[in-house]
Symmetry: C2
Subunit: 240 residues, 2 copies
């Protein structure tokens, strides 16, 4: 039996979705808890990894088990035994052809950037102390939409395509925050944080708008801004 699991997590105290350098990963905690409930060894496959300190509002995983429990019994048991920074939002029995990574068609990431530092939000948003020109940032972010080779923004991983289609790349300014939303058919490692770092550099006037073309058309990594810090990043949704 294969289950599809939708989870939220606070990435603050984890090394990322996968364990690294002996630090605890979300995956390890999920697998240990699932195995304990099912009384068999369970492996988890996610839609993709998230990095150290990055959060999820709707990460999707799948796992196989012989345990004949109802969806609601799984949900109750998981939320009882998981630590309080990981929450299962939904669990549903799926066909064995479903694969959390390979069946994913679209993902949404949100990046939350505050205008002022707030000690109570410091692990859940990034902040920028410089004033930003939103017009320049709007022009920059619009250039990301469409099909491009995003190699300039991401880290190349063998066997993973770097040409991706960005369905939505938008920026919303509120009184207190800048909210970036990205929806694409896939993302490279560090790609969202690298795009946000570059766009905010353009907003500060530190880099010209023209670098967007250099990066998207010529994959010129030397033009890319500093990778934005992880605490502002949320994997919001995965579509199948």
């Amino acid at each position: 039996m294969r289950y599809k699991l939708t989870i939220a997590y606070d990435g603050t105290n984890y090394q990322g979705f996968q364990s690294q350098n002996n630090g605890l990963g979300i995956q390890q905690v999920l697998e240990e808890t699932l195995s304990q409930i099912a009384k068999e060894s369970i492996q988890v496959v996610a839609s993709g990894r998230t990095d150290k300190g990055v959060h999820a509002l709707g990460q999707v995983c799948h796992f196989d088990t012989q345990n004949p429990m109802t969806d609601s019994a799984w949900l109750r048991a998981l939320n009882t035994y998981l630590p309080n920074d990981i929450a299962v939002l939904d669990i549903v029995l799926v066909d064995e052809s479903f694969h959390a990574r390979f069946s994913a068609v679209k993902k949404c990431y949100v990046y939350v950037l505050a205008k002022d530092y707030n000690i109570f939000r410091r692990n859940y948003e990034a902040y920028i102390k410089y004033p930003l020109n939103v017009d320049w940032m709007q022009q920059a972010i619009q250039k990301l939409e469409g099909t491009h080779d995003f190699k300039g923004f991401g880290v190349f991983v063998e066997h993973k395509p770097t040409v991706r289609t960005m369905f939505q790349a938008t920026l919303e300014e509120t009184d207190t925050h800048y909210i970036f939303t990205f929806i694409a058919d896939g993302f490279l490692k560090y790609m969202v944080r690298s795009m946000v770092g570059t766009i905010t550099d353009i907003g500060r006037g530190k880099r010209p708008l023209s670098i967007m073309d250099d990066i998207l058309e010529h994959q010129d990594r030397s033009k890319v801004g500093k990778t934005a810090s992880p605490e502002g990043l949320y994997l919001k949704q995965v579509w199948y």
Copy 2:
């Protein structure tokens, strides 16, 4: 020279304002940072202690130093060297007659109780899964206003008066939260969390409204509800 210091802190990773059982206290961190900047040993006196996990939006302290720095140089140095979960909001030179504890005339505590569990807010608000009758809670909280012997709600500490004047005790309900606000000329240890625990028990129908009189008029501790958890509590303001 005596300075008055107004600070905010995230109490999550501290044993409380004062160090306890070898755990780190806010006071210890403040004193070490101040001493390092002033190059002399500095002691800090606060308006009062806060417990493990309790936060502050406007705790007030004082300290004495020989160091002839301007207020703005102190502010800059402190916010540079303090960890990112303690923020100095204001620092000002005061008369030596000022005392952070003895000169305080009024304090405001706020308690934030959410209707749903949110993993990203779990250290910054309490939550209650039961529906609450706000009418009953409004009637209960109103009984706290005025001058009463609050011994039933607090922990008795020698030489500290238990008769206190509550200037404001109010409850506000939003779509997502219950917000309790208490302003008094002083608070006993655990008093706010004990009042909140009792009022929510009344809201759940677990205890009758009449216990408020038993506790306030007869100091009957057996009628008091469970102490509400610390993560929802904020010391908001101290008046002098």
